[in-house]
Assembly symmetry: C2
Homo-oligomer: 184 residues x 2
């Protein structure tokens, strides 16, 4: 069986991970007719597979490991996984690079100002009011990727531009996939 | 997106779950051209997603819940899941029946004599020598399904007969799948 790929999209809350992941998914499935696709979104993953975990540093790291292990598990069985989660830990990324045959790391980079301006989940405003703490991108930095395959600077990007990037990435993934299939 | 199905194959260690699951998988993918298939095998699942769990009653139950939650999660995203695990707990099965839209429960039933005779993993012989304990089907009974969709009595079944059953089940799943797709 042909193994699946893992696309690991990372960035702080509000960077644009979900938008990018969804557009890549849609492009792959509708335009490139790729099946065996699975979009792993951080919030939903927690609901199903980490209901026992909170948001302490320890719990966040354990959650990232679970996401990484599930991604490898699915890819081993031919499922193509696109993840959109914060999960910024060097050890987890190194493990993925080592374990996943077809691995692409995408870092969506935005300035702190952009995060605070967007703040869809009201995380940064709650932090400012002292209602919560330990918010990656707010009061703590995580281990940002130092050598991702793709970096997207998403401060002043329009939705159309981000979708353009997604189409480009989908094209690359689909091409790579076909090349691998032909090699067997 | 069309949701995936969950086929929950259960039975004690040595009943024939893996053989049945693999044959159904193979039939669906090669004969019925069904994609988005995922075979979830108990031992492999533990390796990837329950490395923290052992074999105590509490850990076995937690493991079964994780398998059930992952199955629902994948099915929600259009992946068709076939599980082959012991996981015999009424609460877990009831939850799956309630949550999964397209759920099929298969119980492979064999006598204790057959289990002891097969004993591929040497579980029952180790139990007999007192080296291990709490072996479902050995010194403990779990909650066997009381109303599975399909029961397979697998004491004197030949491999060819079991494969025949698998082909029949695959045909039913593929037909059901197509009918659902047409309904949307």
């Amino acid at each position: 069986m042909d193994k699946g790929f893992v696309v690991w999209i990372t960035g702080y809350a509000g960077a644009g991970k979900t938008t990018l992941a969804r557009t890549i998914f849609k492009e792959l499935s509708s335009h490139h007719n790729l099946s065996n696709l699975f979009l792993l979104d951080g919030d939903e993953f927690r609901e199903f597979l980490s209901p026992d975990l909170g948001y302490t540093p320890k719990d966040r790291l354990e959650n990232a490991w679970r996401i990484a292990r599930l991604s490898l598990y699915l890819a081993t069985h031919g499922i193509n996984v696109i993840t959109a989660t914060v999960s910024m830990y060097a050890n987890v990324r190194n493990w993925l690079r080592e374990q996943v045959e077809n691995y692409t790391e995408i870092y969506i980079k935005v300035s702190d100002e952009t995060l605070i301006k967007r703040d869809k989940k009201n995380l940064y405003s709650k932090l400012k009011r002292g209602e919560i703490s330990y918010i990656p991108g707010g009061d703590v930095r995580l281990e940002e990727p130092d050598n991702p395959h793709i970096v997207i600077e998403n401060d002043s990007t329009t939705t159309a531009e981000l979708e353009g990037k997604a189409r480009e990435i989908a094209r690359m993934l689909a091409k790579n996939k076909t090349a691998r299939q032909n090699a067997f």
